[in-house]
């Protein structure tokens, strides 16, 4: 049975909290919301709980959000849904991620490659999404057409993430003309992006 949650007129974070409660009781939930913020928070919640989500915008700025929980009761516990209230979110302080190697962590190379593939794939679902991703040193290999995670990088670019690829590194590894994503950049752009970051993540 579909559960209907009408969140119109409620202030953040009430809509997302009511949605979470409803999803714990029913597999199918229809949420009616009246603002983008609620929709974004519910989207994050759906991601965390592994729910399918379909958002339809109707006249008068009303959203009908259909959530379908697959499988058993949600395994996602805890209060950290990543709720964002207040619209001044991170605009002036962009999240920048630097991939300075084609592997995540040091130790085992094969494992490091697997971890990097997982990490980049996960960036697609991350909120807030990074504003920029910078690739340098062996990290530039991730953007080559043959890279195992080129589809994920392309999708991040399509979603508005700027992908800077270090030109010196492309030259060094003879990858010119072999890139499948990203903008070849110089150290001025890269250094400016790094020093201008609100948060800099170098995994």
């Amino acid at each position: 049975m579909e559960k209907i949650v009408d969140t119109r007129g409620l202030a953040c974070p009430e809509p997302v909290i009511l949605t979470k409660k409803a999803l714990e009781e029913a597999k199918e939930v229809l949420v009616i919301a009246d603002n983008d913020e609620a929709v974004e928070n519910i989207r994050r919640l759906a991601n965390k709980m592994g729910c399918a989500i379909a958002v339809a915008r109707e006249e008068g700025g009303v959203f009908r959000i259909r959530l379908t929980r697959s499988g058993e009761a949600p395994t996602y516990e805890g209060t950290d849904i990543g709720i964002v209230c207040g619209t001044a979110k991170d605009r002036g302080a962009p999240l920048v991620i630097v991939l300075s190697s084609d592997r995540l962590g040091r130790g085992n190379d094969e494992l490091g490659e697997v971890l990097m593939r997982s990490f980049v794939h996960t960036l697609l679902t991350l909120e807030p999404r990074p504003a920029k991703i910078i690739l340098y040193n062996t990290g530039v290999r991730l953007a080559s057409r043959e890279s195992a995670l080129i589809d994920d990088l392309k999708q991040l670019e399509a979603a508005g993430v700027e992908l800077f690829v270090c030109g010196t590194c492309v030259n060094y590894f003879e990858l010119k003309g072999k890139l499948g994503a990203g903008i070849v950049s110089n150290m001025y752009d890269i250094a400016a992006a790094m020093t201008g970051a609100g948060k800099l993540v170098i995994p």
Binding site: G50, S70, G71, T75, Y76, E110, S118, H121, L124
Partner: protein
Amino acid sequence: MNGGGPWEVVLFQSVHHALRAEKLLKAADIPCKLIPVPRHLSSDCGVCLRLDPSFRSRIEKVLTGQVEIGAIHPL
């Protein structure tokens, strides 16, 4: 191969099993993608293979006797 779907994910006993399966499937020209195990399936930091369900029988044929499959879930 990020567009499209619906997908299903194949879970394995270990990262090594998953990597071996990926190699075998790539060699057999079956498109697949190594992704982190979705949160709602397991909280472990594991990897699984994401595939198009229409390849199910071919996948089973390629992996039978080579790599043990753990479980298959819709994504």
